[in-house]
């Protein structure tokens, strides 16, 4: 599994192509479960990011964001999609480090990139 650099998520820098995410060959029927679960969490993340933008610093929205990123990371890790795991890790770091007003854009970029990756996996 190649290592990809996802540090661009914190500074709006370049990210690897979502079409290049590597999926373990033995993932089997778990892939559909994974994509379905991730897409559902991305929808939740989008809502949480928009709510966060509207009411910056709200602890409830922050907790929702952390929970979703952590859950996507955990599931990616369990099915062996390491690049997604790394992206989530970088996004978690970025969420803590970025100024509050920059966090929603980072989250929406994460959501768009991951959404594209999910579509690529199921094509």
């Amino acid at each position: 599994m190649k290592t990809k650099d996802f540090s661009g998520i914190i500074n709006n820098g370049p990210l690897p192509s979502p079409q290049d995410v590597e999926v373990p060959c033995d993932i089997g029927d778990l892939l559909n479960d994974y994509v379905e679960s991730t897409e559902s969490m991305l929808a939740e993340l989008e809502q949480a990011a928009l709510a966060y933008e509207a009411d910056q610093g709200c602890e409830e929205n922050s907790a929702a964001v952390r929970r979703i990123l952590h859950k996507i990371k955990g599931e990616s890790s369990m099915v062996g999609i390491d690049q997604m795991c790394e992206l989530c890790h970088q996004a978690e770091f970025a969420f803590e480090e970025l100024p509050k007003h920059k966090r929603p854009d980072m989250l929406l970029r994460f959501k768009d990139w991951t959404w594209a990756a999910m579509h690529s996996m199921t094509d």
């Binding site: 679960s37 929970r67 859950k71 890790s77 369990m78």
Partner: protein, 275 residues
């Protein structure tokens, strides 16, 4: 014995994946049970027999750490081993969890080999704990009733050939049998100490070991099975004799047995628990 495993994670995908990893390991699983958070897990623990809990930390409503704390406050769940399965990598957090009673930690993702290693460690630890408890119970019983001394084990101790096996069963909160296997000549010393007899016949030997089984049960049951021996009915002890070493080899082969050196005589104890 087939193990009942409870997987606690808010991700159904992760629960499914963990289950498949366990299925790859040569471990006899009776039932897989699943919970989406600590509250659901505690409910299942209250209703079903669970032998191993695999739990995530970050879950809605009740996380893994709170669940473990709640488990430790209940007599029924405090000794069920919990292994945390998480992406948590802070060593201080993991140390805190281990201090709170978590048995071990698996980092997501984990391999079947890592899971196998953890279960092997867990069961061997449990066997040691059982053995320690049996040793303690038997030692206390001997000190109480027979004034005999427990010595360190020595390699050159002779395996008993002629033996007497005492069995005493208990029913109640738990059901099982305690067995004590002693050499023939040890029973003679025991009978002399208990009854101050100058001549000891076969009946006296058997009666002495029955008495040892009785008092051991009284000390043993509150120590590991329940907080009070009153919660159990104990049968009258029975004894059987054996003229070759087969009785000895059969009993000590069990992982739930322990052997003591009592003033140069090897005495073995075994606990047999029933579901």
């Amino acid at each position: 014995m087939a193990l009942n495993v409870l997987i606690v994670d808010d991700s159904s995908l992760t629960r499914k994946r963990i289950r498949r990893i366990i299925e790859m390991v040569d471990l006899e699983v009776g039932r897989f049970m699943e919970a989406g958070n600590g509250i659901e897990a505690l409910r299942i623990l209250g209703e079903s027999r669970v032998d191993l809990v695999l739990a995530d930390l970050n879950m809605p409503e009740m996380g893994g750490a709170d669940m473990v704390r709640r488990m430790k406050t209940s007599e029924a769940t405090k000794s069920i081993p919990v292994v945390v399965v998480s992406t948590e990598s802070r060593t201080t957090r993991i140390k805190d969890l281990l201090a709170e009673g978590v048995k071990d930690y698996l980092h997501k993702p984990f391999t079947p080999e890592e899971f196998r290693e953890i279960t092997q460690t867990l069961w061997s630890e449990q066997a040691i704990e059982y053995g320690d408890v049996l040793t303690k119970a038997l030692s206390q019983a001997l000190e109480t009733m027979a004034f005999l001394t427990i010595l360190p084990m020595e390699e050159d101790l002779a395996i008993p050939v002629k033996t007497v096996l005492a069995e005493i069963s208990f029913t109640g909160a738990k059901t099982g049998t305690i067995q004590i296997l002693a050499p023939w000549n040890f029973c003679e010393i025991l009978a002399e100490n208990i009854g101050a007899l100058s001549e000891v016949d076969d009946k006296a030997r058997h009666d002495a070991l029955k008495e040892l089984a009785n008092v051991t049960s009284g000390l043993f049951l509150p120590m590991v099975v329940s907080s009070t021996a009153d919660a159990f009915d104990i049968t009258v002890p029975t004894t059987t004799s054996c003229d070759n070493s087969s009785q000895w080899h059969e009993l000590v082969a069990d992982q739930n047995s322990c052997v003591l050196n009592i003033e140069g005589y090897m005495v073995a104890t075994r606990l047999i628990m029933k579901d």
